[in-house]
Amino acid sequence: MTDTRAAVARPKASDYKSDIPPVWCPGCGDYTVLLSITKAMAQLALAPEETVVVSGIGCSSRIPAYTNCYGFHGVHGRSLALATGVKVARPELTVLVAGGDGDGFSIGGNHFLHACRRNIDLTYIVMDNRVYGMTKGQPSPTTEPDWDSALSPGGTGLRPFHPLVIALASGANFVARCFSGDPNGTTKVLTEAIQHPGFSFVEILSPCVTFRPEQRGWSEVVHPAPVEPTDDAAQAARRIMTDDGFNVGVLYRGDREPYRTARTETPESLADLEEEFAI
């Protein structure tokens, strides 16, 4: 553990990194995502012991153990459900959820829909590399239709899944797109996402240099979103559906009421409950 913060000193990103060396490939985009997350934590001066990072399975999903917070590296596709349990049971904790496009949009698609709808105060970070990295290169829902691979020779022919639009349509309260190669911009967005009430969804374009080396070229094409974020979900969706996919920045800020996690102030006793059974 490297928690060396003095009582008054502002924490640094490194204070949020654990001493476990990541097993990612050299050059993987996830390294800078980790950096951005820890920077955002530092900027918000989150207490590591009051922060939980939950993930599924995939290269990207290895991130919890690389932070100095509480973490849960669950099973493939179920991180949002697990995080829902953590947050509803312990509303005072800050809960981040992180993972990949396969984990979140393929096997985890149903939880994504319902987490957006439930609007619990979670921040969901997807490192989108448009591929299943960990299982060595199969198409994910966000993969381009003509990307050739062993499992889908010649490409899937399928229209890519549009996570931002689905998030908006299902009720996410904050929607943004980032690029891992821009840690400062990403940090800024993450800082805002964590603070925004309700369900915040941040898609981070994060190249898989091993199975999608051409994604190194993303740094050439990403650009800031040309318009200001909106609070009109339909408008945001329309914009996103027609943009080039490389607009980065906050795209939508909503003001829906987050899920009620409050407990009754005056719990009754067990004897009160049992009364209903007495004859």
Binding site: G71, H73, A81, G85, H111, A278
Partner: protein, 594 residues
């Protein structure tokens, strides 16, 4: 609760000995209100001091199909209906033939139908030779403004059994409170009409056969279903979080928990599916809050992968499986004990965990509460195998004592630097840091891991972690709760779950025949307790194995984990019909013939 004073039932005057137990059925088409009628009678009888049991049987229709309320009332606690029914009252005969298999009548039985309508009594009722005491049920109801046939039936049965009027009236008022005074008044009129008509169709001597003996000293009893009891057991055990996805016949556990948790400061979340509900409770429990979900076979199947996660990441959770007929969607509304295999062996990999089973409606409370404690103590998933019969039957029981278990989740409240979440300890349990605890930060993982929690594929870590996870479960002292053992003899009957009642009764019948029988009813199914069971079975030379599963799952389970002495006589049959005490008796008789 009714507060009026009660008139004690009068002792019979005809000289016929009043009964200490009676089984009756009220049948009719869906919407005819037979379930309501049954519930009223049960409440009234309970208030008057009798014990009782009510189960319901319905067709596949949500509404409009056939339905029957099956009741047994008695001076002693009741866990099972008799194999034969003493009284059947058919509000109408619509599809009553569908109940032929569950509703066995004899020449001593009494059947009441509508005398003014064409007699459509099904073959099983006619051929039984049961005495008939038909009356113009429908006409009687029609004569009363807002009258309903089911209420006429209640009056008639109540008079037949000798249930005190005030108890019945209180039950009617309680049940119909929300329907308003007019409904109550017309119901009471119907009841009076039914009661008054009875003597004209059944002479006193005949009627006396069906009269219940006066109830004993009334104590403070509960009227509860197994599903409600499981919910209450969970709350007593400390559960404050539940995740829910509805499924028959487990939904009532969740529906009871929703407001109950809210009242005691907890919360229930409705999940999008069972994959979510199991993960939600893992998350909540990781957060330090004891958590539960309830489901049935298909839902349990969906949870299996993540129960494995709870095993590996060492997160306590409780899953109540209210079993129904299988495989697949199977028979959702009927009972069976065929989820034993999946509960015990369902996980991939070597995944030690806990499986317990209640053996009565009341025991659903104790066993669920115990499961919470076991899960919390051992930081492992515990599966509670209840079943449709226990879960959905309503029973009058003595209020279960609140057993307070002393042990609790072992947490790391002030972790030392270098804290290892999965430290390899002697007992296998490692202190668990709960988020919020400074210095306890770790990442829980379903990948095999080092003691610290870092993913590892090293043989040393795998061997050590597998061993510690097994050790904590297998070396735990489960005390006396592992089984209920009764009697002694060279024949032993082994069972688990809801078949315990048939075994108890069957063994009693055998004892009355002079056969010495021991019964062992396993509450703890996993981990197996070979030393304990083998000690109980020393001196036994024949073992009868009773279970409600076509594939003899329990028998195979016993073979796998225990050395059974002597000959083994399996008595296994699938649902939907319950195993009867007479079947058990016959097997015991078979066992004593070399």
């Amino acid at each position: 609760m009714t507060t009026a004073t009660r008139k004690a039932p009068e002792p019979e005057t005809t000289g016929v000995q009043a009964r200490s137990k009676i089984s009756l059925a009220i049948s009719g088409s869906g919407g005819a209100g037979v379930i309501t009628a049954g519930e009223m009678l049960l409440s009234a009888a309970a208030a008057a001091g009798w014990y009782g049991l009510m189960t319901r049987s319905t067709g596949p229709q949500i509404r409009g199909g056939e339905a029957a309320a099956l009741l047994t009332l008695a001076a002693e606690p009741v866990g099972l209906h008799s194999a034969q029914f003493d009284v059947l009252i058919a509000v109408d005969w619509m599809n009553t033939d569908r109940f032929a298999a569950e509703l066995v009548l004899t020449p001593e039985s009494l059947v009441i139908g509508d005398s003014a309508l064409p007699d459509d009594a099904p073959a099983f009722a006619v051929d039984s030779g049961a005495r008939r005491a038909d009356m113009p049920l429908k006409e009687m109801a029609t004569e009363i403004d807002g009258g309903r046939i089911n209420m006429v039936a209640v009056g008639c049965l109540s008079a037949l059994l000798g249930i005190p009027d005030d108890a019945l009236e209180n039950a009617v008022r309680a049940k119909l409170k929300c329907k308003g005074d007019a409904a109550i008044a017309s119901s009471l009129d119907c009841i009076r009409s039914g009661a008054e008509m009875l003597p004209s169709v059944l002479d006193d001597a005949a009627a006396a056969q069906f009269r219940l003996a006066p109830a004993g000293q009334r104590r403070d009893r509960w009227l509860i279903s197994g599903n409600e009891a499981a919910g209450l057991g969970a709350v007593r055990g400390g559960v404050r979080f539940a995740a829910a996805y509805p499924i028959t016949p487990a939904t009532e556990v969740l529906e009871w928990l929703a407001p109950a948790l809210d009242r005691v400061g907890g919360i229930l979340v409705q999940a999008e599916d069972e994959l979510a509900s199991i993960n939600m409770i893992i998350g909540a429990s990781y957060g330090g809050v004891p958590s539960i979900t309830a489901t049935s076979g298909p839902g349990l199947a969906l949870m299996i992968e993540s129960i494995g996660l709870a095993t590996s990441a060492e997160v306590p959770v409780v899953i109540v499986d209210v079993m129904r007929g299988g495989p697949s969607t199977g028979i959702p509304t009927k009972s069976e004990q065929s989820d034993l295999n999946i509960a015990v062996y369902g996980m991939h990999g070597d995944a030690p965990h806990i499986v317990v089973a209640p053996n009565s409606i009341g025991d659903c409370l104790f066993t669920t509460q115990w499961a919470v404690h076991l899960a919390e103590d051992m930081q492992a998933p515990a599966i509670v195998l209840s079943d449709q019969f226990l879960g959905q039957a309503k029973s009058v029981v003595d209020p279960p004592a609140n057993v307070s278990f002393i042990t609790r989740r072992i947490t790391a409240d002030a972790p030392e630097p270098g804290y290892h979440r999965y430290a390899v300890t002697d007992g296998g349990v490692s202190p668990m840091a709960v988020p919020g605890t400074k210095g306890g930060q770790y990442t829980a993982d379903g990948l095999e891991h080092s003691p610290r929690g870092t993913p590892s594929s090293r043989v040393e870590d795998h061997v050590a972690q597998l061993a510690k996870r097994r050790r904590k479960i297998e070396e735990f002292d489960y005390g006396d709760h592992w089984a209920t053992v009764d009697g002694d003899g060279a024949v032993a009957v082994l069972t688990w779950g809801s078949t315990a009642e048939a075994v108890r009764l069957g063994a009693d019948m055998a004892r009355q025949e002079g056969i010495a029988v021991k019964t062992v009813n396993l509450r703890l199914l996993l981990p197996a307790q070979p030393a304990r069971l083998e000690a109980e079975l020393s001196g036994v030379d024949a073992v009868v194995v009773v279970e409600q599963s076509e594939g003899a799952q329990f028998h195979h389970y016993l073979r796998a984990h225990y050395d059974l002495p002597g000959r083994v006589l399996p008595l296994n049959q699938p649902g939907p019909l319950p195993i009867q005490s007479i079947d058990v008796l016959n097997k015991i008789r078979e066992a004593i013939q070399t």
